[in-house]
């Protein structure tokens, strides 16, 4: 890396940089060679950083007014909505921000799946990313409990009860999580503490995620290794900064529509009813971003196996770099994988849909088929596909022509559309 050659121009800068090379770091970030053919699916990393910062800043402000007490929590949220200056804005940004965060993270993950970004040498980036995703779900779940509405309370009851499925120690673990014999004040206060803590763990992991990214550099739509820096790359600043900025603004427009014009559409009406342990809501439904996993959980008739299936659904993603045996990264050159990829996307959307429906009749059947297919995709299709699939020849570089073989008009056309 050429980072070591960097010298600040001013004397003071040099003095400081010799003691703490912050300027070398910022120079590295600005000069960081990035493939020039990255498409807009690559802008979600920056968008996600924005989402995390937004959640932390709005969350911090809410924490100044929120009271974590089962008798006062609901009223304190109403106090924020009514009497705190722009409290309604801060809270709606925070609540919808969680949904936007997940929307962006799902696009980010599915982009990695399409272009094989999880493959060698980027396995560690991927695994850190999966840990972040898991922590995000935990954080979001605990955050949803804090307003102490009906869905908060009953969602917390259902999800924490999952641990009771663990043989022998399950009941003990649940009581330990609750801090009592039901979801109550101790549960609320510890969820609040953890909801405050986890985002900072996520922030730390994001730093590691980016650090791990900067070792091999970005993958790209063609999925080939490129020389850095070369004519295949552009410096991060200003090229990627402005492009990420543009994409972020587009994202913010969508975000603003939710916040200002339908702030409650992604939430559940029942959560505006204060928590009442004596009244169970007709349907207990988690937030939309957890629905696919909820569908997997409910599609297994046995409680313990259901919980195992749900966690396994995340775990197969963690070991994905070793399940996918294909040496070719990008789906652009994998005609069969591309089809299976889109089937998976549809499968997950179906899981999300049935997760919102009552677990009975046709919905349950569909959930079971979709769950089975989810695991088939990762555990059977991907390992076999790597050996069986006839891939399209991959170009040597982003700017150079295709390696050997006869010219493939379809590929050239596709290549052009990528550039």
């Amino acid at each position: 890396m050429s980072d070591h050659d960097y010298q600040p121009s001013s004397k003071l800068g040099k003095w400081f940089n010799d003691r703490l090379p912050l300027l070398t770091l910022s120079n590295h970030l600005a000069e960081y060679p990035t493939p020039k053919n990255l498409n807009y699916w690559w802008t979600f990393g920056g968008i996600l950083t924005f989402c995390l910062i937004t959640q932390i800043v709005t969350g911090l402000t809410l924490a100044m007014h929120y009271i974590a007490d089962s008798d006062l929590a609901f009223a304190s949220v109403e106090h924020i909505m009514r009497d705190v200056n722009y409290g309604w804005l801060i809270r709606y940004v925070h609540a919808n921000g969680a949904s936007m965060f997940f929307l962006a993270v799902y696009i980010h993950i599915f982009r990695a799946l399409y272009y094989g970004s999880y493959k060698s040498p980027r396995e560690v980036i991927w695994i850190i990313g999966m840990i972040i995703y898991f922590l995000m779900m935990a954080t979001a779940f605990m955050g949803y409990v804090l307003p102490w509405g009906q869905m908060s309370f009953w969602g917390a009851t259902v999800i924490t009860n999952l641990f009771s499925a663990i043989p022998f120690v399950g009941e003990g673990i649940v009581a330990w999580l609750w801090g009592g014999f039901a979801v109550d004040n101790p549960t609320l206060t510890r969820f609040y503490a953890l909801h405050y803590l986890l985002p900072f763990l996520i922030l730390g992991l994001v730093v590691l995620h980016i650090w791990a990214l900067h070792v091999p550099g970005n993958n790209n739509p063609i999925g080939i290794d490129i020389k850095k820096p070369s004519k295949d790359t552009v410096p991060f600043h200003p090229y990627i900064v402005i492009k990420d900025g543009f994409a972020l603004l587009m994202f913010m427009i969508v975000f603003a529509f939710f916040v200002f014009y339908s702030p409650n559409i992604l939430g559940h009406a029942d959560n505006y009813i204060e928590a009442n342990p004596m009244v169970t809501p007709a349907h207990i439904v988690p937030e939309w971003y957890l629905l696919p996993f909820y569908a997997i959980l409910r599609s297994v008739p046995d409680k313990l196996l259901g919980v195992i299936a749900m966690f396994a659904a995340i775990f197969v993603l963690v070991i994905l770099p070793w399940l996918d045996t294909s040496k070719i990264r990008s789906a652009v050159f994998r005609p069969l994988y591309k089809q299976f990829y889109w089937i998976l996307v549809i499968d997950v959307l179906i899981l999300g849909y049935v997760g919102a429906m009552p677990a009975e009749g046709l919905y349950l059947l569909v959930a079971r088929v979709a769950t089975t297919y989810y695991f088939i995709h990762f555990l059977i299709v991907l390992p076999i596909l790597g050996y069986r699939e006839k891939t399209i020849p991959v170009p040597l570089s982003i700017t150079e022509p295709v390696l050997g073989g006869s010219p493939n008009p379809g590929l050239i056309k596709r290549k052009e559309s990528l550039n």
């Binding site: 804005l89 552009v234 402005i242 427009i253 939309w288 999300g352 919102a356």
Partner: protein, 259 residues
């Protein structure tokens, strides 16, 4: 670029669509073109003031509104009673305060800073007085029911004779829009039940519409500010996006790649 926009859009449609499928359960609600809907939606001031009258003369006998204060009645974006009117409204309620220097509780006329007086001492008293059914607090009711304002409006107009063969217990009434069609609140509104101060005819539809508008405001007191700010924010973002787009084009014209 186009593809991305379309796909993102489709994802959103799917997301919202799945929620609406869930919302469209059983009986369709009566849909009203509320003045507070839409990008520039505002509350109808007259309707809010009449709605408060309906609330205070009818609903308030059983339903509390514990998160609202009398001062809210004169605040911008609400019914916008004058300060004097709001003070008079507050003063018409006897508020228990204290303890005083002697350790005694005492009553005094309400002030602007007081919360709306609750009709019952506590939830249990409310239940006991209403045949075991708890009349929900109305502060956020319009957000706490699927369908929101349309649901409340429909419910108020949804009283009907039970279909043949349906036997109702004592103190239970048939309502088309209630979950399970059985409700413990008797039809609260009837023709000419109250006399509007502004001379508007107090039909059941009119009263339902007014009180629903009032409840929507109570649940979202900053709705008007939100709509106004949202419009400005989005216009600002769109202009900035266009500027950044052209800057991006200019910067990327130095390399042969397209963005």
């Amino acid at each position: 670029m186009k593809k991305i926009v379309t796909i993102t859009y489709l994802i959103f449609l799917l997301l919202i669509g799945s929620y609406q499928v869930r919302a469209a359960e059983k009986t369709d609600l009566i849909k009203i073109d509320w003045s507070f809907n839409g990008l520039f939606g505002k509350f109808d001031r007259g309707s809010l003031q009449r709605g408060y009258q309906v609330y205070s003369e009818v609903c308030a006998a059983c339903h509390s509104m514990k998160y609202l204060s009398y001062r809210n009645l004169s605040e911008k974006g609400g019914p916008e009673f004058s300060i004097e009117q709001a003070k008079a409204i507050a003063a018409s309620f006897e508020i228990t305060d204290g303890p005083n220097a002697d350790g005694e509780m005492f009553t005094r006329p309400g002030k602007l800073s007081d919360k709306f007086l609750m009709p019952y001492e506590n939830d249990k008293a409310a239940q006991a007085a209403n045949g075991g059914a708890y009349p929900p607090d109305m502060s956020v009711l319009a957000k706490a029911r699927k369908g929101g304002a349309d649901y409340i409006y429909s419910l108020l107009l949804g009283y009907d004779d039970p279909p043949n063969g349906m036997i109702l217990d004592d103190g239970v009434y048939y309502n088309k829009y209630m979950y399970g069609n059985q409700i413990k609140m008797s039809a609260p509104l009837s023709e000419g039940l109250i006399e509007y101060g502004d001379g508007t005819e107090a039909s059941v539809e009119q009263m339902s519409k007014d009180v629903t508008t009032f409840l929507m405001w109570a649940a979202e007191p900053h709705l008007e500010t939100r709509h106004r700010m949202g419009f400005k924010a989005i216009v600002y973002l769109i202009i900035l996006t266009v500027l950044v787009y052209f800057s991006m084009k200019k910067i990327w014209s130095r390399v042969e790649s397209k963005v």
